[in-house]
Amino acid sequence: MAEKKKVIKRLKTMYPLRGLVDKMFEKAVEYSHEGKPVAWCMVNWWGGDSLLRAMDVACIYPEDYGAVCAAAGVAQTYLERCNSDGFPDHICGYARNCLGYASLMKAQGGIPAGAPMGGMPKPSLLVGSGYFCDTRFKWFQALGRYMDAPLWLLEMPHPGVPESLGKDSEKYIIRFMVEELKKFVAFLERSLGKKMDWDRLDEIVSDTIEMNRVWWEVNELRKVKPCPVHSRDFWSCMPAALYQAGDPKETTILYKNMYDEVKGMIDRGEAAVPNEKFRLAFAELPPWHSLGFFDNLAERGWNCVVESWAYHPPQFIDLSQYKDPLERVARHTFQYFAGFFKHAHEAGEELGYFGYPYIEYVKNYKCDGFLAHPLLTCRTATNHLMYVQDRLMQKLKVPSLFMEGDIIDYTLFNPDEVLRKADAFEEAMLHYRDVRKKEGLDW
């Protein structure tokens, strides 16, 4: 498939946000040279980043580095190294990339030659997470073969929808999270040999919540028809919030700039995709190695207007009444995890995260279709997709298209096949527009 011209209109304000990722990796290399602490972290949805930042630890995210390696075309070397060390090939592509990288790092005694973006320097700490996927801490545990950095597990409760709504549930859930965070602070203080700066933490937490509020507002604007922000822009600037790639106060300004740009586009009736014909919700992680493919879809008028709940900021709630910054961290993160649960319960839906949010998104963003990218090596991004496909059809009469692939391994993705299916899928989307109309649904 020859790559077509760039059709998707990119936001100008996206670039400085995207640039924060490069800066994040550069900062880690600098810190490492200066003998300052560097942590390899799993994306933990605000559970620990503010605390690390307040302790002046440079954080990098091997997950993100996996995407970087895939885009730079060097992932295959690391994947092969991981395989030859004996790890099964069905585990997460990001993890295999990182395990292979760490193995080479050990063998070469430093950042492997040719590592993109200056490489990931040796960590002083590993911060795994108990959020969602098992890989999030099993992978970091497996890194013990290659490095002596201690590993902390940031824990996250995963109650079910009805179970989370019990009389005392919220109380003990938050208590648990706060206690875990306290232990994390103690671990950091011990490992780094210095005390937490609580005032600094307080400020960072407030800034982080505000940053996510503005980012949430930007995404709310995408409900407008035609949609001014394509998923590609979303993915480019989500790390700024999700990984706290930059200083949250400064990042907030960048998101505000984005808000203004998007607002202006709406006023002028501008869209990310000229002639937006079909609005799609995209699940879950994109094929990082083939992002240009979305231009091929955009050429047909396909606009990806909303993505998985997993990468979106939580719906804003005012947490200013909670003076303890750890409690604000806990409540903010739990709001992200369980923010849809009450509605899910009312709608009789059991999968309150990863599942139900798509139902709301598809309705509120008025999507014609659900574009799913199942990943052979990621259970988390895949196990609910058929369920969602079924719920969307049952409840909203919205059809789905599955395009099999992988986040790292480009050989598993077949863009031509997706394009072959595109005509039939467009017909299905048109057909279901009529069906929805007949059933009284308003898009």
């Binding site: 099964p88 079910g160 003990y172 058929m386």
Partner: protein, 390 residues
């Protein structure tokens, strides 16, 4: 012959071949049956309400057809199979289900199961990965909620005394299972790995007291019987769920004896007791969260020291395997993981490293949970046994 006329191993084999027969009889007599998935739903709480806990398994013999519409092929084939059986009506006799969070996919399955199977009663017990005090406390709160939901479902209150008594019944069962495993220490062992699974699966299919009676008979029988297993390579099997005798049979048919295991249908589920003093919910939370040694739980060294020593970490996480190796005189280990089982897949290399440090050879087998794909595994096991000198 009905299982009522049978005793000991023959009875266990009969139950294994038709696991739900006994609970269906009990159901006709008025009992209520609660299905549970994996080893984390607390069976003591279920039984303390006079409900019969019944472990949900899959079937490696039965092709997955219906679950294909609900769960993709890149997730745990055991879970897909279990759901498939459910969708085909094989678990229709259950009055409800209790699920937990052994791994990410099983946690999702709990919610997907509720959606598609629509059980009259269901509860999902959140199970943290951490084992710190706050996690234990949180887990205890979840268990309290579980108790409360059963109270509402059954219209009767929980009794702390009854719970303590039930814990004692289960501890008795666990002691008997450990006694059974002691009979696998001699060379040759007095009971085969295949028979062990038949007995243990029976215990998970009948009420606890009946199970205790059964295993007592089994122990008595095998202590006395002649013609048990012949001598062979003494093997430990580690890994993901093994709920069919076929995998162990494959190894034993090649002349080895699976004398020890670390899987969730074996010692992993049965070995740890629940402490009987103090608040029973607290002790249950500790037993299930801290004492069950499954790769899904996070244990790590170096947290205090601020620096990890890999050898120390391996000893902390897998030291119990070293004890098994010594006590059961293990010559080789089969590491068995289901394809797409992340919790076990990440562990394989470290377990291998640990075993190598003890001088114990191991082989890694990956299985897709189907009977038809066992033969290539056979060739590999055969080659492995040859390297052990058998």
């Amino acid at each position: 012959m009905s299982e009522h006329n049978l005793k000991g191993i023959a009875k266990a084999q009969k139950i294994y071949s038709d696991r739900s027969q006994r609970v269906k009889e009990l159901k006709v007599a008025g009992a209520q049956i609660l299905g549970y998935m994996c080893i984390y739903p607390v069976v003591e709480i279920i039984s303390s309400f006079d409900l019969v806990p019944y472990r949900i398994f899959g079937s490696i013999e039965e092709p997955i057809t219906k679950a294909d519409n609900c769960l993709p092929t890149c997730v745990c084939p055991f879970l897909r199979s279990a759901l498939d059986l459910g969708l085909k009506g094989k678990y229709d006799f259950l009055d409800g289900v209790v699920m937990a969070h052994p791994c990410e996919v099983a946690e999702k399955l709990a919610h997907i199961w509720r959606t598609y199977m629509d059980p009259v009663y269901s509860f999902y017990i959140d199970t943290p990965h951490a084992t710190r005090e706050a996690a234990i406390e949180y887990h205890k709160e979840s268990l309290k909620d579980f108790q409360k939901s059963l109270e509402v479902f059954l219209g009767k209150g929980a009794s702390s005394e009854k719970l303590k008594k039930t814990i004692e019944d289960y501890n008795e069962q666990r002691a008997l299972v450990r006694e059974l495993y002691d009979l696998k220490k001699p060379d040759p062992p007095l009971i085969s790995g295949v028979e062990t699974i038949e007995v243990l699966e029976s215990l998970m299919s009948i009420p606890v007291k009946e199970g205790n009676e059964l295993i007592r008979d089994v122990i008595e029988e095998i202590k006395e019987r002649r013609g048990g297993p012949a001598k062979g390579a003494r093997v430990l099997i580690w890994g993901s769920i093994i709920d069919s005798i076929a995998v162990v049979k494959l190894i034993e048919d090649l002349g080895a004896n699976v004398v020890m295991d670390d899987t969730c249908v074996g010692s992993r589920f049965f070995f740890p007791d629940v402490e009987t003093t103090g608040d029973p919910l607290d002790k249950l939370a500790r037993r299930y969260l801290v004492d069950l040694k499954c790769p899904r739980t996070f244990i790590e060294s170096g947290i205090e020291a601020g620096k990890k020593d890999y050898a120390e970490d391996l000893a902390l996480r897998f030291g119990y395997l070293g004890d098994y190796v010594k006590q059961w005189n293990i010559k080789g280990v089969v590491l068995y993981a289901l394809r797409f089982c992340d919790t076990h897949a990440y562990e394989v290399v470290s377990v291998k490293d640990y075993l190598s440090s003890l001088g114990i050879p191991s082989i890694y087998l990956e299985h897709d949970y189907s009977a038809t794909s066992l033969s290539p595994l056979k060739t590999r096991v055969q080659a492995f046994l040859e390297t052990l000198g058998y």
